[in-house]
């Protein structure tokens, strides 16, 4: 009955308990490092430099004692789309000056630029997959939510709803398993009535819509109903935003957290320096 199990492939929030320095880091620092590193990698356009960044992330995964197979698990169901995108880049990258043609056959043009772009994308993708897994495997959802709220706190000075944003993320993460179970229940209920969750061939557009709608529309309506009940419960308990709220646990940074920031920035800088050296 694995076709009805929608939760097994969701890597978000799948904490991997282990005793390591990375597990014990302050979630605010982990989030900041994750965001800066993700942004840095996104703008790094050199294959060798991206390989260096990948080696850094693999080292951190080993230091966190997280198995590589577990870290890549979220990618498994989506692998066909990744391969399709890589092939798209290989065949349809626009030709530019300095690109040598490798294969030219009718409408297909494979150039050195297309090939290097495809390899660059795959390496960058692997780095980002592992980085995301590293964050979620070493940080619990509660820690992530608290970290996000504290990081967004300065925005409340600009009258932006920082606390509310953090609460929305917390509610979303809290509702993920609940709605996943709801999806399983809906799929089973519809399967009992003859509707399959399997995809029909893409030429049957209307059939695909007809088969999907009995699953999607009840999911939305039931979720809105849950949201309505949650709002009533929050009102009934006197929820009033940030005013007068205190915390049971407070986060305090230590020298270990700052050392992690230095290591991460050194790793990112080394990749950029390598990219600059290779481009000269």
């Amino acid at each position: 009955m694995s076709e009805f199990d929608f939760l097994s492939n969701i890597a978000i929030g799948q904490y991997f308990p282990a005793v390591s320095t990375i597990h014990q880091l302050d979630p605010r620092f982990k989030l900041m490092i994750f965001l800066v590193f993700t942004l840095g990698i996104s703008f790094l356009d050199n294959l060798t430099a991206n390989l260096l960044a990948l080696i850094w992330v693999l080292t951190w995964l080993a230091a966190a004692r997280c198995p590589l197979i577990h870290a890549l698990r979220g990618l498994r169901p989506l692998l066909p789309f990744v391969v399709a995108f890589a092939l798209f880049q290989l065949f349809f990258t626009p030709t530019a000056v300095g690109c040598a043609a490798l294969v030219e056959w009718r409408y297909l043009h494979i150039t050195t630029c297309g090939l290097s772009l495809m390899l660059l994308s795959l390496v960058r993708l692997a780095t980002l997959v592992l980085l995301t897994s590293l964050l979620t495997m070493t940080t619990t959802t509660t820690e992530l939510a608290h970290g996000t709220e504290l990081l967004l706190a300065p925005l409340s000075n600009l009258r932006l709803p920082a606390h509310e944003m953090a609460l929305i993320i917390t509610i979303a993460l809290r509702f993920l398993p609940t709605l996943g179970l709801e999806m399983s229940r809906l799929a089973r209920a519809q399967a009992a009535r003859g509707v399959t969750a399997q995809r029909s061939h893409r030429f049957y557009f209307m059939r695909n819509i007809r088969e999907r709608l009995p699953l999607i529309i009840p999911l939305f309506v039931n979720s809105l109903s849950r949201a309505h009940r949650l709002a009533v419960a929050m009102d009934a308990r006197g929820y009033s935003g940030t005013r007068g709220r205190t915390r049971a646990f407070t986060m305090q940074s230590s020298s270990r957290d700052w050392f992690a920031v230095v290591v991460a920035m050194f790793a990112l800088a080394s990749a950029y320096v390598l990219a600059a050296c290779l481009s000269i």
Binding site: I168, F175, L176, R212, I216, L224, A227
Partner: protein, 202 residues
């Protein structure tokens, strides 16, 4: 005695609108709860691939990942729409299997912030004429905003050329808009009771 009109039928809680006062926080509890749950749906639709419906074109699947954003904007206004757009964008950014282009926040997050505002604008402007038409227009405009702004940003960031963007947009937009409208009508028809007769004609 004065003949004061007596309000006999009280609206259900989910159809009332909680007006903010000086004492209420920036967002009402209902806005927070609906945003949180719709954000969870966005994440689930992406992870389980339920949000992608195969279409008979070689460009891939039609997406309904933007539908929760439009739904949030219709139900709770532009702020909720923008927040949901941001969460949709952040999810695109950190989703491990997202295509490489969407690892750039200017492509994955920035265009998505405008989906909710555009959909809410279309809904608010046409709501006085007909609720059904307003929902359809919100679906049309919201999907258009998602397609145009995302592809536009891909062109601006020099990831694809204009011709590819126009071809891709022209092929992907109609099925996405059709599916979005069907889902929105189905969900809002059931939730808000649009078109449902509330009293006897006798």
């Amino acid at each position: 005695m004065d003949n004061q009109p007596i309000e006999t039928q009280q609206k259900p809680y989910h159809q009332t609108r909680q007006e903010p006062t000086s004492n209420t926080p920036t967002m009402t509890t209902r806005k927070i709860a609906i945003s949180g749950v719709l954000a969870a749906i966005t994440i689930l639709l992406g992870w389980t691939r339920w949000g992608f419906i195969p279409i008979p074109l070689p460009i891939g699947d039609a997406t309904i990942m933007h539908v929760p954003v439009i739904l949030g904007a219709i139900l709770e206004g532009p702020i909720v729409g923008t927040i949901l757009g941001a969460i949709f964008g952040i999810f695109s950014l950190i989703q491990p299997a997202a295509v490489d282009w969407f690892k750039d926040p200017t492509i994955s997050i920035l265009p998505r912030l405008l989906i909710g505002v555009c959909a809410w604008g279309a809904y608010a402007l046409t709501r006085r004429w007909s609720e059904w038409i307003a929902i359809i227009l919100a679906g049309v405009v919201g999907t258009l905003a998602n397609t145009v702004f995302t592809l536009g940003m891909l062109v601006i960031r020099n990831k694809i050329d204009v011709r590819t963007a126009v071809t891709f947009g022209a092929a992907a937009y109609p099925p996405e808009a059709i599916i979005a409208i069907i889902v929105l009508l189905g969900v809002l028809g059931a939730w808000k009771g649009v078109g449902r007769r509330t009293s006897s004609r006798l």
